[in-house]
């Protein structure tokens, strides 16, 4: 029974981690411009992240080391320095985007420009990290995150043609706007397969003191939680396709367009639900990405770390998230459009995948870390597939970023 509670909590938590400004924005754009045609990207991204999260959790539960520890220890500092730098800088961008997401929600709710909200949001997030415990952050915020289920409800209420939805789960070539089609699929993949997600998950497993008895729970949480999150993303995409596209809005490049998705379904409450979903999902992600920055640095250099300790007991650790949060608030404060930043950083995330995913192949096959719980053929095939995908995306993204994008 206790395990069951644990699993359901874990599932809820992973939903909170999965759905953030990136998956919402990319799914909304894709639905508006291409209807159901890009559902396959969400499905593919979700399957990939299920595998990576399961491995990250298994690695932590068996070896009591995080993925980050593993990369540094197994490959040495000279290799580690590249994923460290790439992940740190990219996460800083994602953190900005998430803070921007909360700021947009607050602007929509109050009419006060989003720039003004960046610093208060960063401060509130910092305060929670400063005073809160891991359990509070992990569970509290993600429980609230269940509000995002309203997208799934809306999608069902709109009575989509389910055969067309299923057809969208199969990749197909676009009839128009080829460059933007591929750019969007890359952004969706980047939004689903985020390094911060599996790195945070493995740190969380250590914070929650997982051991081998959690291997089953880990599998259930990874599978159910990520599918759950993916389902909500598909929900956003369906709603965007059925509401925005049918009203003639096929270009989503202004965040003011987003609340319109839910208004025809729920009326005024649709507006409220959208604002609440955006604010909560992005705020949860702000906390997680901010904390992951501190985990990354502390684990990479071998300092003490842990969200449950008092800041004065690990000054280095708390200094990293403090500095990260405030640095990330600056671009939004200066008025950088959060929606653009989001799409841009998601595409870059996809391109950075090989750096963080290649080590999985070795860490999860290393008996000294995972013993008999090594990867099977299926998991290894999945990792190799994700690496290959990452390389293709890296090659495709950069030119698309410059010429084809939004």
């Amino acid at each position: 029974m206790k395990k069951l509670v644990e699993i359901s909590l874990g599932v809820v938590t992973s939903v909170g981690g999965f759905l953030e400004v990136g998956s919402m924005a990319t799914a909304a754009q894709a639905g508006a411009t291409f209807g159901f045609q890009l559902i396959w990207a969400v499905v593919l991204g979700t399957i990939c992240i299920i595998f990576l999260v399961e491995m990250a959790g298994r690695f932590a539960a068996v070896s009591h080391h995080t993925i980050c520890d593993g990369i540094r220890e197994r490959f040495g500092f000279n290799v580690f320095v590249w994923p460290l730098l790439a992940t740190f800088l990219l996460s800083l961008m994602v953190l900005s985007a998430e803070i921007g997401g909360v700021a947009i929600a607050l602007e929509l709710a109050t009419g006060i420009g989003f720039q003004w909200w960046a610093l208060p949001v960063a401060f509130l997030a910092w305060l929670l990290l400063w005073k809160g415990t891991f359990g509070l952050i992990e569970k509290g915020v993600s429980m609230l995150g269940l509000v995002t289920l309203c997208f799934v409800v809306a999608a069902v209420m709109l009575k989509p043609d389910w055969t067309a939805v299923a057809a969208g789960a199969v990749p197909s070539l676009p009839a128009h706007d080829t460059a933007s089609y591929w750019f969007m699929s890359v952004s969706i993949l980047g939004a689903s397969i985020s390094p911060y997600l599996f790195m945070f998950y493995s740190s969380g497993a250590i914070e929650d003191q997982w051991d081998k008895s959690y291997l089953g729970a880990n599998r259930a949480i990874a599978g159910l939680g990520m599918s759950f999150g993916g389902t909500i993303s598909v929900g956003v995409l369906i709603v965007a396709a059925l509401v925005l596209a049918t009203h003639g809005i096929d270009q989503v490049d202004d965040y003011h367009q987003l609340p319109l998705m839910l208004i025809p379904v729920f009326g005024f409450w649709g507006f409220v639900l959208f604002v609440a979903s955006l604010a909560i999902a992005c705020f949860g992600a702000t906390l997680e990405v901010g904390l992951q920055q501190a985990y990354l640095v502390a684990q990479g250099f071998g300092w003490t770390w842990g969200e449950d300790r008092k800041p004065r007991d690990n000054p280095g650790f708390s200094a990293v998230y403090t500095v990260s949060l405030f640095l990330a608030a600056i671009p939004i404060m200066l008025g950088l459009d959060p929606l653009r930043l989001t799409i841009f950083s998601m595409a870059l995330t996809a391109a950075s995948l090989p750096l963080t995913v290649v080590p999985f192949l070795f860490l999860l096959n290393d008996k000294r870390y995972v013993g008999e719980h090594r990867n099977g053929i299926l998991s290894n095939a999945a990792v190799i597939f994700i690496i290959a995908l990452g390389f293709v995306l890296a090659v495709v993204t950069i030119p698309l970023q410059i010429f084809g994008g939004t």
């Binding site: 202004d254 003011h256 005024f268």
Partner: protein
């Protein structure tokens, strides 16, 4: 003389790389021609107009709060002004069609501005009127767009 050959091949390889880069750039800039820009901006303008129409409907039925509605109108107004400027500045072989597109987008801007003013004054009738203007302008934008991209004899 003989010992210079390797250096020459080396620089030759560089030269070829340069060509490749130049070709790539050329191809890309050809792909991003001004006709593409006009197409893109027209689509953006059309979407923006539909956004305004939707948000005004929501406001009228009490589903969208005032601040949000006003913010959207303002933001869309900027988008439309930008789209108009880009369409006007693009170089094209069909100046008449281009001008028609730009005028339609301009009309959209004016309608959105009227809607904004009506909204600020709480003048529902004014907002309703502006919405009708918006729909008219949308239709002329669609017509101009079709004409611009119609196969030429």
């Amino acid at each position: 003389m003989a010992h210079q050959t390797p250096a020459l091949t080396f620089s030759g390889r560089h030269l070829r790389l340069d060509y490749l880069c130049a070709l790539l750039l050329l191809g890309v800039s050809a792909g991003c021609s001004s006709s593409d820009r006009i197409e893109q901006q027209s689509q953006t303008a059309a979407s923006a107009a539909q956004t305004v129409s939707m948000v005004l409907d929501a406001w009228t039925s009490g589903a969208a709060p005032f601040a949000y509605t006003a913010g959207t109108l303002q933001s869309v107004g900027k988008t439309l002004a930008d789209a108009e400027a880009q369409i006007r500045s693009a170089e094209t072989a069909e100046p008449a069609e281009q001008a028609a597109l730009a005028t339609a987008v301009k009309d959209l801007s004016v309608a959105v501005a009227h809607a904004g003013a009506g909204l600020q004054a709480g003048n529902r009738a004014g907002v309703q009127k502006a919405k009708q203007d918006l729909q008219l302008a949308s239709r002329s934008l669609a017509a101009a767009y079709a004409k611009y991209f119609a196969p030429k004899p």
